[in-house]
Amino acid sequence: MEDAFLMIVTMASATLRVATPLVLAALAGLFAERSGIVDIGLEGKMLGAAFAAAATAAVTGSAWLGLLAAIAASTVLSMIHGFASITHNGNQVVSGMALNIMVAGLCPVLAQAWFRQSGQTPMLGQQARFGPIELPFAAAVAKVPVIGPLYAQVISGHNILVYIAAIAVPLVGFIVYRTSFGLRLRAVGENPEAVDTAGVSVSRLRYQALILAGILCGVAGAYLSTAHNAGFIRDMTAGKGYLALAALIFGKWKPVPTLLACLLFAFADAVQIRLQGVPVPGIGVIPVQLIQALPYILTVFLLAGFVGKSIAPRASGIPYLKER
């Protein structure tokens, strides 16, 4: 009993750690897609941000400067995507994909040129990373049964970026549903002509959405290389951008359901790590590769079968061209 509870606590904590970049990236995607831009470039922006964060932190020794660099890099990449797909009406998926490919190649090359450690950044010391934060009273309540360990080990003890991701969910919800900007954002992804004729610039709104997406992806990338890990390694996003996109679809482009979808994917990942090498009663040890594929298999099943009708913002993916 004690063991089972401990396992739940460990897995819940791991789920939150894995979910953080997914949540941030999915919220980034939410801004972009609600504005009518399909953001398949989440992956590339996150990877670019991870590299910028690790490289900056390695040179300056400051995780915070790394975070700023990550946000800057990711926003620049977002603007490139915007320039191609908003200003020049390019295909959003193609230009986003181009971004991913470019970043995947560029980061290891730069890392090699600057640090000469086979395409990685140097291992970061504790000071150059975001360390765990102990929330108030964590030590005091740790002894209280059930609630104590949950607070002390699941809620408390994460790095600041995890809490930022947690705050980002209600914040994004507030922006999207309670502000004038949010109303325009939702409108421009549904019917950009309505926004244009209401006297609001479609391009400007879409650029603003992409800036917000860039900032959030920047935080997600910094989390990967300066909080969750201790440095940049090649392809370290490992499809998380696409997974975030899937969570966004699964969450029907709404903040809270998207958070839940991210948690589900992250939980599958935590289970996956837990199951590696552990014999399952009646089956025996499951091959590692199969277990590692679990979150992705789950994604396919969920998206194919259980989402029900997930209606995308109507104008999503379509460049806005004025009719004659």
Binding site: T179, S180, L183, R186, N191, A194, T197, A198, G199, V200
Partner: protein, 524 residues
């Protein structure tokens, strides 16, 4: 030039009033198309000013320039006598110009209130403007008789109410001048009358209304003054009481036109298209056609009238074999048609002698990137006469197409041009030519003259009547009542997926049809 003469009389506003809007010497090019040529328009404050012209005459372009949606290449706009620089819709809105577009500019999954607020939120947080907008909507509703539930979602509202929301949007932004682009296309005659009544109320309160339409009856009914445009230029500007429908039609087309062709009484034979208790659902599984039965006999034209969206589209698609029916029977020349399996059916039906001019020629009638000759044989490309062994015989197809283009007055008559380079009317004539020249016994025609100019309407109507006189069965679906009345030998009225009555065009009145189309009256 009659144009300049007609304009001269209007330089000073009538009764010592003021001009609400003046557009002076406007030129606008789209690529190589000269959409507005030195257009001058003056609209008196507190009047209803009509603008008529065929499709492509430049009416909408001019209005989009006034509204800041497009920028003129040359010319000046004055509002309330002051030169205005309108580069974006926001500028026009700030100057008190509001526009109701032909295709509504509404966010369909937003509420009425959210649509009204969009772009005029009055603060960073929605809560700030929400209460004010609520109160203001109530006031406007009371003052103008434009009541709408602010919390209902647009896509659940009928089109008439959606249009009301568009008008409210403009008034909420403080519009002094309201531009309406083809506002009655989606309305029943009764709804249109209601709209016109409302426009008069607006005028009487000192607002200015610009009404763009191609329906001359509306111009005569409601406007004080009318400007006629042809091929991008203003050709006349007249007081409505000094003109007539016939006069305006002639000005629009540039020659005399016969409105409503004469035709001999029909001489119907046996039923060749029989429909029995047909049920059809739309793409979302919603039942759209709900138990429809009727016959079309050889040698008659049957017209189906109805406000768009009452199941006509799905009915036509099911008859054409491109949408499976949920249940019911269709018999073509006495043979049962397999209705539940889509795909092969359209081709089988064509071979059985069915022609189909689809409602939406852009989506279904033509392949825009294909040349005219390719479009002209599409659907019949397997026929022996277009083939050389197992290859297509391009020269033969071009030849056939060239002949038809001459016969159907498609201009320019070059079979090698891509479909998109023709005007709407000529595209439609090409589709009509294809369907008629493959000698069908039954011809389905959806919106035969949608987006087609008067000259082409005249022509297409004549060909349809000629088909009928040759002993073919013709089924016409149209939302234009005038067209249904002019063409049909029998009129069926569709409402909410059912045929609510059959009337004869000799005895039917527009009022009676309108009530039936609104689901209010049964056939007498």
């Amino acid at each position: 030039m009659t144009a300049t003469l007609a304009l001269d009389s209007a330089i000073a506003p009538p009764n010592g009033g003021r001009w609400a809007i003046e557009a002076i010497g406007i030129d606008k090019w789209f690529g190589s198309v000269h959409a507005n040529r030195d257009v001058t328009l003056r609209v008196a404050k507190g009047s209803i000013h009509g603008i008529v012209g065929e499709n492509g005459a430049g009416k909408s372009t001019l209005m989009n320039i006034l509204y800041g949606y497009h920028r003129a290449d040359r010319g000046e706009i004055r509002i309330d006598g002051k030169t205005a620089d309108i580069g974006r819709p926001a500028d026009a809105i700030a100057l008190g110009v509001g526009m109701v577009h032909q295709h509504f500019m509404l966010v369909e999954n937003f509420t009425v209130l959210e649509n009204v607020l969009l772009g005029a939120e009055g603060g960073a947080l929605l809560a700030d403007g929400r209460a004010k907008a609520h109160a203001e909507l109530e006031r406007l509703g009371r003052d103008y008789g434009l009541e709408v539930d602010p919390d209902s979602v647009i896509e659940d509202l009928p089109v008439g109410i959606q249009q009301r929301v568009e008008i409210l949007k403009a008034l909420y932004r403080g519009a002094e001048t309201l531009i309406l682009d083809e506002p009655t296309g989606v309305l029943t005659p009764q709804e249109a009358d209601k709209l016109f009544h409302f426009l008069r109320v607006l005028r009487d309160q000192g607002k200015t209304v610009i009404l763009i339409t191609h329906k001359l009856r509306e111009i005569m009914d409601v406007t004080d003054r009318v400007t006629v445009m042809r091929r991008g230029a203003v050709v006349a500007d007249l007081a409505t009481r000094n003109t007539s429908k016939e006069d305006l039609a002639e000005q629009m087309v540039g020659r005399k036109v016969k409105l409503g062709g004469d035709k001999a009484p029909a001489n119907p034979g046996a039923a060749v298209l029989e429909v029995q208790d047909l049920h059809v659902a739309d793409d979302h599984g919603k039942p759209r056609v709900r138990g429809v039965s009727f016959n079309v006999r050889a040698g008659e034209i049957v017209g189906i009238a109805g406000v768009s969206g009452n199941g006509q589209t799905e009915l036509l698609e099911a008859l054409g074999g491109i949408r499976p029916a949920a249940s019911g029977h269709i018999r073509l020349k006495g043979r049962e048609v397999e209705t539940r399996r889509p795909g092969l059916t359209a081709r089988v039906l064509r071979r059985m002698g069915l022609g189909h001019v689809p409602e939406d020629r852009h989506r279904m009638g033509l392949v825009h990137g294909f040349a005219a000759y390719e479009n002209a044989v599409l659907g019949h490309q397997d026929a022996k006469r277009y083939r050389k062994g197992w290859l297509l015989d391009r020269a033969r197809m071009v030849n056939y197409c060239g002949d038809w283009m001459k016969g159907y007055d498609v201009r320019p008559d070059n079979p090698l041009l891509e479909a998109f380079s023709f005007s709407g009317g000529n595209q439609q004539k090409l589709v009509v030519a294809r369907e008629m020249e493959h000698t069908p016994d039954v011809l389905l025609v959806g919106q035969p003259t949608r987006g087609v100019d008067i000259g082409a309407i005249e022509f297409i109507h004549k060909r349809l009547v000629a088909m009928r006189d040759a002993g073919k069965a013709v089924l016409v679906v149209s939302v234009e009542l005038d067209e249904i009345m002019a063409l049909s030998d029998r009129i069926l009225v569709m409402f909410d997926g059912r045929i609510v009555g059959e009337v004869s065009p000799e005895t039917a009145t527009e009022r009676q049809l309108g009530l039936m189309m609104a689901g209010i009256a049964e056939a007498t």
